[in-house]
């Protein structure tokens, strides 16, 4: 599903974000990316989504070689990849329903599909009753659920999450992780960058550790440290 071969990414001023990284992630895996700030976790994720392009090496995602993927094809790649952020990135003037529907609307899905899928996904994330609320009226955990609903409503093969519990208290984080686990069990590959020791140690899934852009550890059923 995801394959990195000798991937390096160097930013301006010789900042090495990723150095000769090699890893393979199978369909249906759940992978934690751990490491201190600036270790290259976010770059790892942004490379998979082709927000960044690798300077060296080869990246395959969903059967596509990202290095040779022409830019007009990038949106179609991203339709296979859901993306969840620490700061949710919800649109403040749209309701919960509209925020989720937006994800389908802008990739040109027909209205009847939207009418069918949005309530179903809101049910899945447990927000069916808050469909008409605005983001400001929700708690942090609820906002993250909306963001997950928007990322997953199109049933992507891959879900990328950059610190999804970073702004949440431990109790709320557990709920979010249960939801991601459930999504993962439906066959979706999940790659999650995190600082959250508790989450990683509880879940006991594959852990890839990064330090200054280098992969220093790759364990199936690992812990934070």
């Amino acid at each position: 599903m995801i394959k990195l071969e000798g991937v390096s990414k160097i930013f301006k001023g010789d900042v090495v974000a990723l150095k000769n990284a090699t890893a393979e992630i199978q369909r249906g895996e759940f992978v934690f990316l751990v490491g201190p700030s600036g270790s290259g976790k976010s770059t790892f994720i942004r490379l998979l989504n082709r927000e960044e392009v690798a300077d060296e090496g080869r990246i395959m995602v969903a059967g596509k070689d990202l290095g040779s993927l022409s830019s007009w094809k990038v949106p179609y790649l991203r339709r296979n990849i859901g993306y969840i952020f620490q700061d949710y990135k919800l649109l403040p003037k749209k309701t919960v329903y509209e925020n989720v529907a937006f994800g389908l609307e802008v990739i040109g899905r027909p209205r009847q599909v939207i009418r069918q899928q949005v309530p179903a996904i809101l049910e899945l994330v447990g927000l069916a009753r808050k469909a008409e609320r605005l983001p400001d009226e929700l708690s942090g955990g609820e906002k993250q659920r909306v963001s997950i609903a928007r990322a997953f409503v199109n049933r992507p093969m891959i879900l990328l999450a950059d610190e999804p519990t970073g702004n949440l208290d431990p109790g709320t984080s557990v709920g979010i992780m249960r939801l991601l686990d459930r999504i993962n069990r439906s066959g979706t590959t999940v790659v999650m960058a995190t600082h959250d020791r508790g989450v990683v140690d509880t879940m006991r899934r594959r852990v890839i550790e990064l330090d200054r852009g280098v992969i220093t550890r790759d364990e199936s059923r690992g812990v934070y440290e």
């Binding site: 830019s71 949106p75 991203r78 990135k89 649109l91 609307e105 990739i107 040109g108 209205r111």
Partner: protein, 298 residues
């Protein structure tokens, strides 16, 4: 498909509304600049019509009587061909004269109905070797005495003044218009840029969920195109005001009789209007295209 169309329309209208003050500024600038473009074109056309017979160095015209004999005609032609004082001439026969008459008085059908090709005088439009006024007057006098010649019309100082005046005015207007069209394009670029800025968050999400660049850009480009078209739509009435007030004033004034030809048919005003819409639409599209390609790339 219909849903997508509705999406574009909705997003465009919302954006126009949110950005109202800049939108109005852009539309008005387009309107003013296109009014000037239009006025310049009308004045140019009016002047060309008023002086149509005296273009390209023609200094005087020898009108033959409508029923001039072939011998009389040949005599004139002979002089024109052999005289070193004549550097060139064109012959306008009855049919061509009638055609030109129809064109010049397209606005006055009753005038056209009153004549037929048969009564139109054929004429020679003559370019003298020496355009000096005294010389032209002397040549005109000589041709006027020839048998079969009805009258000789010379390009008077007035005609030259009209040409000169209208060229200057229309060129000045055109320069101002070109500058303003440039300003309009920049203003539309800025307005669309502001609209993009106001929706930066939405655009970011759209890109991440896999909306295509065109899907993101189309509402913004529609917005710019609407600025351009709305501006042009406002400039069109201004064009008719120029036609009915300014050009008509010249036409009716007795001060300079030649100005009476300073008329532009409604058809030309409509054609110009269509051009204004085309220019307006293009200005809007180009301005917004510049904004979206610069600010919405993946």
């Amino acid at each position: 498909m219909l849903y997508r169309l509705w999406y574009y329309v909705r997003e465009t209208l919302v954006s126009l509304w949110r950005n109202l003050s800049l939108t109005l500024a852009a539309i008005l600038t387009v309107a003013i600049s296109l009014s000037l473009v239009g006025a310049s074109l009308l004045i140019r056309e009016g002047a060309a019509r008023a002086t149509a017979q005296f273009q390209e160095g023609v200094e005087f015209i020898v009108f033959m009587v409508a029923d001039a004999s072939p011998e009389q005609d040949a005599a004139i032609r002979n002089v024109l061909d052999s005289s070193p004082a004549v550097s060139g001439y064109t012959y306008v026969d009855k049919a061509a004269a009638y055609e030109e008459f129809q064109r010049l008085f397209a606005d006055k059908p009753e005038l056209i109905e009153s004549v037929t090709p048969a009564v139109m005088p054929p004429s020679y439009r003559i370019v003298p070797a020496n355009p000096d006024a005294g010389n032209v007057a002397e040549m005109a006098r000589q041709f006027g005495e020839q048998p079969g010649v009805k009258e000789v019309a010379t390009a008077t100082e007035a005609i030259r003044q009209i040409e000169d005046f209208s060229t200057r005015v229309s060129q000045a207007l055109l320069v101002a218009a070109v500058v303003l069209v440039g300003v309009s394009t920049l203003l539309i670029l800025n307005t669309v840029f502001t609209a993009i800025g106001a929706r930066r968050q939405e655009i970011e999400v759209m890109k991440l969920v896999g909306a295509t660049n065109w899907f993101i850009r189309i509402p913004f480009m529609l917005e710019g195109t609407i600025h351009g078209l709305a501006g042009a739509a406002l400039a069109i009435p201004a064009l008719f005001v120029v036609d009915s007030q300014v050009l008509a004033y010249f036409q009716e004034s007795d001060a300079v009789p030649l100005f009476r030809g300073f008329a532009v048919p409604d058809g030309f005003v409509w054609d110009t209007s269509i051009w204004l819409l085309v220019i307006g639409g293009l200005v809007g599209m180009i301005g917004s295209a510049m904004a979206v390609t610069r600010f919405t790339d993946v």
